[in-house]
Amino acid sequence: MSVSFEKQSALLARSGWRYELSAAWRLAMKQWKVELSYPLSLLYFIVSPFLWLIPLLLFGLAITGSTTSAALGQITYTSDWFTYSALGFCFVALIDTSLWGTGMAFRREQWVGTLESLYATPVGRTTILFGSSIHNIQHGGLGVLLQLGAAGALFGLQLNLAGILPALLAIGLMFLGLQGVVLFFACVVLVARRAWMAVETLVSAIKLLTPMSYPLVVLPYSLQVIAQGIPTYHGLESFRQFLLLGPFSMTAWMSIGLLLLLDLIILLLGWVLFRASDRYVRNRASLAKF
């Protein structure tokens, strides 16, 4: 296909947030096409959110013998451990999708030999990550809907529907904060390559500190302090409280305020680190090395 010089120049001269947004959207769609081209992906996407929830539910039933726990009721705002854990699980599944999907985006391109081509496209480097994030939000969001739908249909999950909008706000702010973490992961991929190790360690640590099915008070004190400094903890607590207690929970709104502050700090740090490692890798011409 031949493209005239003028057209090429016009394409390369494009700039502005609209073009970057359009490129990010196309990258997200490209990722859907890649995923759906594997026949098992679609099946797994439908059943996996529910499959991963089962071991936790069976363990809870083995411990309590029912879907309520008096001990949990004494240290949280509900004794319904099933709803408490199911909401926590959905939220943590979103964190997983976001961190793994976007954090490993560069590494996947490197594996299939398209990282340099992608780097040569006339879009910002952060747009490439943003495109992956859009895809992961769609992928993870659909997964959560399937999960909550299945939990509601099969086990009668009880939610306060008036809290849905602020709960979505909590998810949105949590995703914003995670973009900073993802930028950090991308730095590790670019510089150290064996990214899965860093991603796996950090994702597991974040998931431990994001109390999916237990309140923070059961953690040792030192871990409680660390958990207060990560956006996923505040995101999950506000999300769960809005959906269980409704939109007027004061502690949930306080968590939202803290989440906003943490988002700003983490995003700024992630962006600075990403710029520095991008420059470092290109200066050393080590982009395609394994």
Binding site: Y44, A62, I63, T201, Y214
Partner: protein, 300 residues
Amino acid sequence: MVSLRSSDIELDVADGETSLLRATPARVIDFSAALTIAGNSLRVSLRYPANFIIWGFMPILWLMPFVFTGIAFSGGVTSSQFGGQTGYADFIPYLALGWIVFSYVDSAIWGVGNTLRWYQFAGVLEPMFLIPAPRLSILLGAAMAELLTTSLSTLILFGLSVVLFNLSFALTAVLPILLLLFLMIVAFTGFAFAFSGLILVFKDPSVLTQFVHVVIYTLTPVNYSVNMLPMWVQPLSLILPSTFAIIGIREAALAASGIALLWVDVFILLILVVAFWVVGILIFRLAERHTRKKGKMGAF
């Protein structure tokens, strides 16, 4: 190490094969080649020593949420309800042992099962398939290397469990535990053959691996007893070597049952070893033939 000079190989143009290839007997598995491949895999693994440490600590991070959940739901470190279900009211050692044993299952699925895909990513799958040794030797070699690296990581996990949860058992339990663990690992090597075949056909290992992992994890009594599963699912759990290994190891470690009481578990595991190897080899061969016929060996 064997060195080969080009003059050692007599090229027979008419047959399109070398005397070396003709001299190589047809075998299901070449243990010598498997050992060489295991050595090579270990050399690659040793290039990243941090992996051993990371994989030693990682399962603790996966186990701890269950420990904290148990504490939050029961209000302590024991649960009479859990004791009624499993026979062990103290759920923390129960969980720790389950996770220690399951780390070997993890290794069979993620490490051995995905070997061919990692070779494909690194661009060496086709050269590996051209070596004059049965393909299963490649997987057996990977399994041997994985056994060593996983054992090192598991030792770290075990040490952490001793320190954090006071996990302890009598020295007399060591032999039965090692026997049950060994049989389970051998059986899952057969499973890894089948799984590698499926990855050759379906290509995308992430989805398939996660799917198989979550299904086996749910069916294996890592965090709860088999009777917690719905009745119609329980038979599936009972065809997994990990179920009998975990039940037997818990009996040996936590209930101090001697080998005499564990012979049923050992016997069933022996049957499963044979069954998993026969089925595993068959599935791998079928998958390999299918992929070669379609010309998709190197395709992503």
